[in-house]
Symmetry: D3
Subunit: 319 residues, 6 copies
């Protein structure tokens, strides 16, 4: 965290209208190379959707979230922090993904994030489909060790091979556990719901000790509160990583996504959940599975941009 003399400030909308100029995240400076610059947080796009099993399009999410983020502002009254007085945040551009080969893309993500980590900054990533999480977690683990993982999603993402392929957007949690990047009992999943392939689909979660606040539990206010208390208790001051699959939110609020499941969180509930993480030591975060070609009125991109701002707020506070 920097002192209040932060240099990286959003363009002032009272001088240049919000709809003007090249769209960078939050209208922040575009700084692909940090040399000689003090950067606290890099917002990083990962335009990859080769791991999706239904609707593609998440490759366009970084651009769409950049566009939507021009409506963001500076001070978060809900958690009480002026983000850009406390952190130098920049738009670091996008990872140069390989749209054809998922393994090469995972490698490129890890490499780019490691560069950023080595420059002393953390990342908030804008996917991409959820397969990109594995690349992110490899970099996070290399820098920070095993993080506590707070995971918003309609799905557990603990699936296994499909069509003989281990790596796709239904498997990053299983792969991350197998690679030792996270530990099951330090994973907290929120928003899971809907039909499953089979009753045994939950076995893996139970075996690994993954904590799941499914939608039925979520609606029980007391249980929800207990769940968040447990997150804070387990996390303490440990490094935490938030991964937010927008399909955790109901498709009425986030229609632009790859594998929608009806009956999810409202965006108001989602924001409240994220704000409830105030005080955690967030070393990285992402929002994934925004698919602009299926979006309406930019609803999903606006939510994505708002979540990025909430993640930045948590980072500005919890450091």
């Amino acid at each position: 965290m920097t002192d209040s003399k932060t240099w990286a400030q959003p363009v002032n909308p009272l001088q240049s209208p919000r709809f003007g100029d090249v769209a960078t995240f939050n209208r922040l400076p575009y700084v692909p190379d940090f040399k000689g610059k003090s950067v606290d947080v890099a917002i990083l796009g990962i335009p990859y959707d080769g791991g999706t099993t239904y609707r593609p399009g998440a490759r366009f999410a970084p651009r769409a979230v950049r566009d939507a983020s021009v409506l963001n502002r500076n001070y978060n009254p809900h958690v009480g922090v002026h983000v850009f007085e406390r952190l130098n945040v920049v738009d670091a551009g996008d990872v140069a993904v390989n749209p054809i080969q998922i393994q090469k893309t995972l490698g490129a993500i890890e490499k780019r994030m490691t560069e950023i980590h080595e420059a002393g900054a953390r990342t908030v990533c804008v996917g991409g489909d959820h397969s990109v999480l594995l690349g992110e977690l490899r970099a996070v683990h290399r820098k920070f060790g095993q993080p506590v993982l707070i995971h918003f999603d309609a799905h557990n993402d603990t699936g296994d091979e499909a069509w003989g392929e281990k790596y796709h957007h239904g498997t990053p949690i299983r792969r991350a556990i197998e690679e030792g990047l996270v530990s099951g009992d330090r994973i907290f999943q929120i928003g899971v719901r809907g039909p499953m392939t089979s009753p045994s689909q939950d076995d893996y979660q139970r075996q690994q000790g993954i904590h799941v606040l499914d939608i039925d539990l979520f609606q029980d206010t007391a249980k929800r509160e207990l769940f968040f208390e447990q997150i804070h208790r387990v996390a303490g001051k440990s490094p935490c990583f938030i991964t937010f699959d927008v399909d955790g939110v109901d498709p009425a609020f986030a229609p632009g996504t790859g594998t929608p499941v009806v009956g999810g969180l409202t965006s108001r509930e989602a924001l409240a959940c994220v704000r409830r993480l105030k005080g955690l030591h967030i070393v990285g975060a992402d929002v994934v599975e925004i698919s602009p070609p299926f979006d309406q009125s930019d609803l999903t991109s606006l939510l994505g941009a708002a979540l990025v701002f909430e993640f930045l707020s948590l980072m500005a506070i919890g450091t």
Copy 2:
């Protein structure tokens, strides 16, 4: 109900991706003719929208719900049942409706459903505007007698003639009572709301003893619970029929519909209500008034497909 050796299974998405192949309901076998086949439930399209008074388009709903249903899965963790291990479910195609003459369409619906009933199967229908309910109820009554009717809707559908016509999507409940297919005091309506033509519009419901959980009552948790208890008490082990007009749900969650009314159920609430019917003996169900030309990102079709799966789940349990 069949034993666990059910023969009718959805295509495995781990072998053939969900976006591939001819789209049948839930990727189940297309079986228009049941001869020599054991079928428990037939999903049946009714592509008719000639009875609508505002936005047409429900004729395209069976196809749109087929497309959306490819995201469905097999096991319902919310009520605890693996549908396709307990029931042989098939896509029985569509009723050959007459787009010009409502009476002929009602006849075609009754005839086709009776064929299915005679083959020992029940139906889950995908309308079509709500006028198709009358044809369904004629067939249901012929086979099962007067069912308890659980009716989700923003409207009571107890209207009378418009432009001199008795049969349109605002009158099926009145016509069904007049024809003796259902009894008013065994009808339960959920989600009714919004302006009425006149204060006397409620008179018919009162006279017939129709139970109405309007949106104001719905929001009173205690009254809502009492209402569902009453459904279970009245229904007991009697045959029940669920008719779900998607406009019972708020248009933010179900924009693709013919006569939207703001201020309705969320899809999460709707799913919870349907699941609350667990244990009833469901002899038939439908989802109607999905109008794909007015839909966004398939929200309404996805909800329709999810409701079909919930209906199948209730049938798998409550038989």
Copy 3:
């Protein structure tokens, strides 16, 4: 208020279908000139969007709300009033705005509303971006003195100059206070939320004594109830004006708007809030910031039309 022999009635949809004919507000008579006619309430379009800072398009809102309002009916069961038996309501057409010069448009609004006031009628206006409120309040103040202002919005609209301009859709509340049209301690804001430019952005509200039920307070049922009790206590029988910026509602329910903020009211909550104002003496109301080019399936226009009907209901009761 007129006696029950009101002359201004909506077209009967049982004779001429709702989708037919020239679309006027609620299918009411189009009466631009009241000479010789008894009119209680004029629904008045203000097709101006020159004051918007992000998405334009509100110039098309009056037409879109007219189209959507054909689904409206006559009797409001939620507050118990048959509007058109108690009030003669007409479509008075649109203010002839100047799309280029905001000051001239504000003048045209004031002039046209004053004509209507002088004819003995009140107005329900359909904006237009929120800058039009200033013109409305000038006319209201001239006729009724300082009203109590109930203000639904995601934003406080108490901003100051942008690009050197005092008048735009972020400043009408500040300008109205400065002009003495309203008093801060008689302004009630509901639904405010989201990031701010700076922590000091709230200072103005505090200094002026504006009452703010932000989204965090709104979710506290007890505090919400207290807030509405306070409105009724402060208002008593005084003239009240309701200004409803649709972005107070969550963009999932009102996607067609200029500066959306995620995490807002549901339309069900919004309707309940408006109905909670039953008993107030409403001398005018508006719904603003509907931008049809960004709308989906007419969601926002339908909400706008429903709000107009609720305002008319309050006027029919509270007079």
Copy 4:
């Protein structure tokens, strides 16, 4: 035709912007009742789509064309006439169709048009699907005898029963010939193309002597010119009726239609063809099969509004 002191003039867009006010056709006066008024041409909506065999939605066409027509102007430089200096044209509202019963709708069309004819005016109708043509021709025949029929379409519309129904949007030409309303050798079809049900589908046209400029002939400039010369030769000063199914135009230019066929006219070609009819004695015209729910950016409605203006221009000249 009136003298130059015509009373019915469009609203002046330099005083009231085009996007403002209640939308009538061409911003002309709304005059449902002609008593005491001199009217030359009535623009009349026919919001009926019950006869369509694929995409419905044409019921919304009159409103959509009204909206689009606000961009129209007064003087047609392509044929050289100031329409509203020569004709009193009004918006006569919509026929009160019966959305359920096609026969009753045909009757309502005939009745309403006859009223207008008896008041001394001609009509330009905005459908509605093409089945409405039969009602129009009944009225035209009653007033003017058998007209020469100039018919733009991708289809011949000489089909016969479907699902046992004689009346639907594929049969109006056959039915009109059978009823003696038109004579085959005085019908001229332009734009027909695409696959047919069978090779014998053309037999009827040949037997009746219908003149067909199919798309292959259309592209042969010399043959096209001969065809139009033949129209003028056959028509001379006889009454002519133009029926324009927008699917005659390629769906790139008219996407909002019920049964699109690729490979059609451009809108530029379509306008040129209509202008080529200059000098004919047009006693009525229509544009049909515009389906706004399937339209994009109002392309089809704009084309419909432009065609209405061209028809008015021909009427202003050729009287």
Copy 5:
């Protein structure tokens, strides 16, 4: 080719409306397994878009073209053939692609097409992005040897590696030549246009002797005619394969595509070009690069369905 007693017929739309039933290509029988059935042509979906470099979504094309193809009919008057009296055509379902690994997908295509070839049938494929062509050509070459290739496209598709990958939708022609599947001097490209990476981008085409009718030449009627004469001269009675990338057509006519280039063919011109191939011995064909998420009013799918019908017509004639 079969005799006139063909068994595979489209559903009769006069009995079951076009919008009804499970959508198969042209409403033909769904026959994934040809055992015991005489099949002449299999329409085969290839729902793969992993090779696209810009907009994905072609994975949804087979379903979208099935939906659009319900408007197709039986007799092609433009070339004079009743397709289904001469050929047994079926919907053979989709290739079970691997969405993650392009090489496995190419293998699956080759394998499935070879099965079909061995059953004595030819294929018309509906892609998929253009990378699928390589799989198709491997199967075609195995069965028929090197075909004459008629290639509609805005691009030459003779690119080389991108991001180190040899196989993507910009390279199938180069790869096919390298693998010996086709010979450059027997490739005919139509519709190529727009900016290039460098002036040397044409070198490969020249070296390989590929015939290119770019958009400038296309507009020269004489040169266009010479080009088609050359195709017929070179092809004679040899096996021919048509590959139609819809971006050869202008995006106004085919907006739903992955890498649109303005200034292309109209769909009328495209159909005329295909019909100009009458008489060739077509052993296979495809239409690729239809991306339904970017389509409007099904324009591109309708064009795709029409092209499939034209290919079938050529096959019915030219065998």
Copy 6:
């Protein structure tokens, strides 16, 4: 013009996919400040739509064209030039417009362009509605004197006051002539068509000697050719300015625009016209009236991006 060692190059799409990274025009360097940099052409956004009389939205055009321009390439085979080997082209960001005051926006445009001119560069501007042309011409005139003006448009833009305002998107040509920025007899208009306010609307053009190739003349190949010859004869080596209102193109090809007129140029014709200007000395150009909220599948933005590339090509050649 620089030598071949140009420093400003688009990002290589074979290394970083086209859908990745912050979107600048043509993926060129973002260089708001030219100090110490050699720049030949600046692409400059003007996000202003306050002068539009119907559909707004052009404020979003610079961003949308940036997004679409990522599909552009380097070499223009149609006129034979590798743009970026001959010119250093950069994205200079957007003019900081005043969305409320048109006069201040015109001033800001003039000021920003003059800065660029003084740095030795020319501009290609992306509007904005057509009112921005006046600001551009003021700067061009200051630097280069009166240019020959080549003006693509459906409208003459020689209107006068509306609502008492002299400056709006219908008047820039008249205002520019009045201010002496251009001379009528050196203005060439292409694509003008459609209804006019009155027969006298053409008087101004005739009086000023403006050359108009309206759509009827355009279709006469010989007259079209003569018109372009005249442009070249009049222009010779004089400074020329191209202003391209996308509504000159038919709305099927450019649906996203403010005041569409059916029956216009195809995009293929438009590109051919622009290329026909090869050899002129282009000192500036713009493309205006792109309104992304009304666009479909980015058709209009893609056309805008293509036109920008053609303008750059002309500049690279004609210097």
